[in-house]
């Protein structure tokens, strides 16, 4: 009896191990090893001259790459500031806009389902296509946005993407309003709120606006947290639209952290892998800080999972 029990246990462990193995392999190959690698190499000297032999900087100079990023590297400085700005702008424009649309569509007026689906389209097509579309919308000669913008303010440069100030907003506008997925997630949460709450509010004479403010929004908090995490991560990662619109130009004014990582370790001639990886480490840390602080602020643990 004991023997069969042991045998069964052994088979059980083997089964668990075998089933975990493929997923774990992918995790270690695509995430764990690269993460360890960027952390490790951020303390090294490693550039195009010593590609095969990264060298540890030594304990006295261990943070040299980071010091260089924050003190000497102007592209990194703009990249960091821009990425923080894009995170912030996503949080204060995209997320509230998504919430507003979700509240409006949840009233289920005529055309709500169509509007919801259309709002999803920019999110389900490739961001490369979006980037290319906006590149043409900003075209100095025939671009739709160029024409519209100049109707309002003729003083703006003809090529929006060629001037640092306007180029930043050009990139921002290419993604910031597309909150279809956020809206969908919020709507799914709204539809889970019991109708009795609204009926009770109605009997008490509350208007729709009041009901939204007092009932929907507070109950929506955890999902707003989820949406904020997803949206801010998008802002932190911003690359595709940027790559197609400005490639960080003019003069590095629209660099993002992602673009900096790419340019520094893969996309230019004098590559510095250690520096790029150090920037990657900073990006990872910002991402973690974002998630943890949003969770702390908006989500109670009991509703999770």
């Amino acid at each position: 009896m004991l023997k069969t029990g042991k045998k069964k246990n052994w088979r059980r462990s083997l089964f668990i191990l075998a089933f975990l193995l493929p997923g774990m392999f992918l995790f270690f190959a695509i995430y764990a090893y690269p993460l360890v690698n960027i952390f490790g190499s951020s303390f090294c000297e490693w550039n195009y001259k010593n590609l095969l032999h990264p060298e540890f900087l030594g304990w006295n100079h261990i943070f040299d790459n980071f010091i260089r990023l924050f003190t000497k590297d102007t592209h990194f400085k703009t990249a960091l500031i821009n990425s923080l700005k894009w995170i912030g702008l996503t949080a204060v424009i995209q997320v509230p806009f998504s919430i507003l649309v979700a509240l409006v569509l949840s009233k289920k007026r005529k055309g709500w389902a169509l509007t919801r689906n259309v709002f999803l389209i920019p999110n389900i097509i490739s961001t490369a296509a979006i980037g290319l579309i906006f590149l043409n919308l900003y075209d100095p000669a025939n671009g739709l946005i160029t024409d519209l913008v100049h109707l309002v303010n003729p003083d703006l440069p003809l090529n929006i993407l060629a001037k640092p100030g306007t180029a930043f907003w050009g990139v921002t506008f290419s993604y910031i309003l597309f909150g279809g997925t956020n809206c969908l997630l919020l709507m799914s949460q709204i539809s889970a709120i019991p109708q009795e709450l609204y009926e009770a509010a109605r009997i008490d004479g509350a208007s729709d606006f009041q009901a939204d403010r007092r009932i929907t929004l507070p109950l929506l908090r955890p999902m707003i947290g989820t949406v904020l995490v997803l949206a801010c991560n998008y802002g932190l990662l911003l690359y595709n639209e940027l790559f197609l619109l400005t490639k960080g130009g003019p003069d590095g004014a629209t660099y993002s952290l992602s673009l900096y990582v790419y340019q520094t370790s893969m996309g230019s001639t004098k590559l510095n892998f250690a520096l790029g990886n150090a920037a990657g480490v900073i990006q990872v840390i910002i991402g973690l800080v974002l998630v943890i602080s949003i969770n702390k602020l908006l989500r109670t643990n009991e509703s999770d999972l």
Binding site: Y33, L35, N136, A141, S258
Partner: protein, 279 residues
């Protein structure tokens, strides 16, 4: 008094106008750029307002004959299908074990998968790029397939795991009493029941892989191997002169996704909603 009249009074005229205004803005912002590109693609000089005059099909002819865009669709389909299949199988197995069985380190497994959600993929792209070169996989579709297989594991893991959690325990217990082994229980009993959840996760992974731009353009350098998004990336530099071709390529590249979405929006919506990972 009719019901609709009642509702109208409750919302108030201002509320109604505001609601429709928001809906109108959403429609214009989401759809107008696409319509503009679509109409412009038939113009002699793409861009501007108004309808094409005369209607030109040069762009479409050139992308199907000279550019042979079909080949890029084939690449995209091949890479996306294979990588989605690999990651779905791997993730389904891990999700099953961690949802249905007890073992030491179970929490750690979930934590590992969850943590990948918050790693900005570009920050770790250089080690991945180097790894592919050291495996002699530079500029191969295999490299892209490998990377895509691992890229979405967090979301698929949560979607599939949460579906496994909804299946009643009695199913396994009954199977085991009937003498099914562990793998038999999984393949014969649980897997068929979990198909909808697995499909939801797979669709989400497929969509993400289909649209992925960064790694495709990083890992693939020869044009003949590129996916559709990577090809679009080439338009900025290489073919920027051929504006008709660019507009037509945008239309042709997004049209299948949009048509598929129109045809089965319910499936898409289910997958996208399930993707709201709580990590």
């Amino acid at each position: 008094m009719s019901k609709s009249k009642k509702t109208a009074r409750r919302h108030g005229a201002a509320g109604t106008i505001l609601c429709y205004l928001v809906m109108f803005i959403v429609l214009v912002v989401s759809l107008y750029p696409l319509i503009w590109v679509f109409i412009s693609s038939f113009k002699e000089v793409p861009g501007g307002l108004g309808l094409p005059h005369p209607w030109k099909f040069d762009g479409y002819i050139s992308i199907f004959t000279k550019l042979n865009i079909g080949a890029y669709f084939a690449n995209s389909l091949f890479i996306t299908t294979l990588s989605t299949a690999i990651s779905t199988v791997a993730v389904t197995m891990a999700a099953y074990v961690s949802a249905r069985m007890n073992f030491r380190g179970k929490g750690l497994v979930t934590l590992m998968f969850a943590s990948t959600l918050y790693v900005p993929s570009i920050s770790i792209s250089f080690p991945i790029y180097r790894m592919m070169s050291s495996f002699q996989l530079q500029d191969t579709r295999a490299a892209v397939i490998f990377v895509y297989s691992g890229l979405n594991i967090a979301i698929t893991y949560f979607v599939i795991r949460s579906y496994f959690l909804t299946i009643p325990r009695e199913m396994e217990e009954a199977a085991q009493i009937d003498g099914c082994g562990y793998s038999q229980t999984f393949w014969r009993i649980i897997f068929p029941l979990a198909k909808p959840g697995i499909a939801t996760g797979a669709i989400l992974a497929f969509l993400n892989n289909w649209n992925e731009f960064y790694f495709a353009s990083l890992l693939l350098t020869s044009k003949s191997k590129m996916t559709i998004p990577a090809l679009l990336g080439q338009f900025k530099g290489t073919y920027s002169m051929d504006r008709n071709g660019m507009f037509s390529a945008i239309v042709v590249s997004v049209l299948p996704t949009i048509l598929l979405f129109c045809a089965c929006s319910k499936v898409f919506i289910k997958s996208l909603t399930a993707g709201a990972v709580k990590g």
